[in-house]
């Protein structure tokens, strides 16, 4: 309705014309109502479409990410025969099993290795414990590179020596340390000079295995490092001292339970 016609309507407003006015008003109200209905319909369509698109995007995300993560092949290195594919160091029939969850880039793991590392090594050498190393990799790509290189060292039978040399040369967290070149140089210090080792470091041969170890740890509710289990019992962080660790091992050995049953994820 134009402004002109509205003016006309008001000019012609006489007693006899009220019904025509009312009709006009009614028609206008109907138009407004119709417009409101159309708008509501449009809103419902847009709302449902937007919700549907968000749901669809979620499904697409699931498909895309599933295809991305499933692609790394899992190559399990030699000696990864412990619980949850951990790398075993020590006599297989040792009375006590110690599971260690560490990240090569985790500074507190570095401190643990400095304080308790030699105690662990002694207990391994004396045949008292079998250590199972779960090398986690959540502190950036350098974590993954280091864990891959350590797996390559396990394949060559030098996991523990390499593990120790990495901790002795731990770069600060999140500084992009542990480049592949550094990792092969550190390998040479413990006699890891084979072509197999060097190429496994360079190619990320064990990246799939490293991701699997991380996944297994997450399923076992290990959400931080260092985490240590002695015969399946988690040690409190206050017990992560040479004395505390030795006491836990002795008490586990004394209780005569032998190696704990395999914990289920």
């Amino acid at each position: 309705m134009s402004a002109a016609s509205r003016k006309n309507a008001s000019l012609r407003k006489e007693p006899g014309q009220t019904s025509a006015d009312a009709r006009r008003e009614k028609a206008s109200a109907a138009r407004t109502a119709e417009a409101a209905r159309t708008r509501r319909r449009q809103r419902i369509i847009i709302t449902s479409a937007v919700v549907a698109v968000l749901a669809l995007v979620g499904v697409i995300g699931f498909v895309v990410q599933s295809s991305r993560t499933g692609s790394t092949p899992v190559v399990v290195p030699a000696n990864a025969t412990g619980t949850d594919n951990g790398i075993v160091v020590g006599k297989p029939d040792a009375p006590v099993t110690v599971d260690l969850y560490e990240d090569f880039q985790c500074p507190i793991c570095g401190e643990l290795e400095k304080s308790v590392g030699s105690t662990v090594q002694n207990l391994i050498d004396n045949g008292k414990i079998k250590a199972v190393y779960h090398m986690m990799s959540f502190l950036g790509p350098e974590s993954v590179r280091a864990a891959n290189a350590a797996s390559a060292a396990a394949q060559e039978g030098s996991f523990k020596q390499y593990h120790d040399v990495l901790y002795a040369n731990q770069p600060p967290e999140r500084t992009g340390g542990f480049q592949n070149s550094t990792l092969t140089q550190l390998g040479a210090r413990v006699g890891l000079t084979s072509e197999a080792f060097t190429s496994a470091v360079g190619n990320g041969t064990y990246n799939g295995y490293v991701a699997k170890v991380e996944d297994n740890a997450s399923k076992r509710a290990v959400t931080g490092t260092p985490t240590v289990f002695v015969n399946g019992q988690q040690l409190a962080s206050s017990a992560l001292t040479p004395d505390g660790f030795t006491a836990a091992v002795n008490s586990a050995a004394g209780s005569g339970t032998g190696p704990a049953p395999t914990p289920t994820g």
């Binding site: 479409a49 997450s218 399923k219």
Partner: protein, 167 residues
């Protein structure tokens, strides 16, 4: 004079919602983009909360960054702002509940809000209080946008225009 006042009023009223809308859009885009590159990390992050059953951990971890980015784009272009704000508020409410529950159960984890979290080195501090306060403020912003979704530079305004101009 009158016409000018009529224009200035709504325009001024749109400044707040516009700021909130772009702010939330930037937040969701950042949150999604930072997480999308590390699906495995997201899985560990979601699992670390120990809330969802294992069968749902992967679907949720994989879908969330995509939904966050889609939500960010919706808010950015201003399409169905009210719907976007409602979804935004719902997501934030779920995040707050998850963080609060992790804190209550004494879990020692990283929320993974802007990256893949889940793991923390043993002595690293958690930031539950800060995370809950931040998410609550964002929830408040989403709530305001649900109530007043009309904002500038939005596709919604183009869609509404034909009806406003017809008497």
């Amino acid at each position: 004079m009158l016409a000018q006042a009529g224009l200035t009023g709504p325009r001024l009223a749109r400044v707040g919602p516009t700021v909130l809308r772009f702010g939330l859009a930037a937040l969701w885009l950042a949150a999604g983009i930072l997480k999308i590159g590390d699906p495995q990390g997201m899985v560990h992050s979601v699992r670390a909360f120990r809330i969802l059953p294992e069968s749902l951990v992967h679907p949720v971890a994989y879908a969330v960054p995509f939904v966050e980015i889609a939500l960010g784009l919706l808010l950015l272009v201003g399409l169905a702002v009210r719907v976007g704000a409602v979804v935004s508020a719902l997501l934030l409410a779920v995040y707050i509940a998850a963080i609060a529950s992790a804190a209550a159960r004494g879990l020692h984890i990283e929320c993974g809000c802007f990256s893949a979290g889940g793991n923390l080195t043993a002595d690293a501090p958690t930031h539950y209080a800060e995370e809950i306060i931040r998410d609550s403020l964002l929830l408040l912003a989403s709530g305001l946008l649900v109530r007043w979704p009309a904002s500038a530079f939005a596709i919604d305004r183009l869609l509404d225009r034909p009806f406003q101009e017809n008497p």
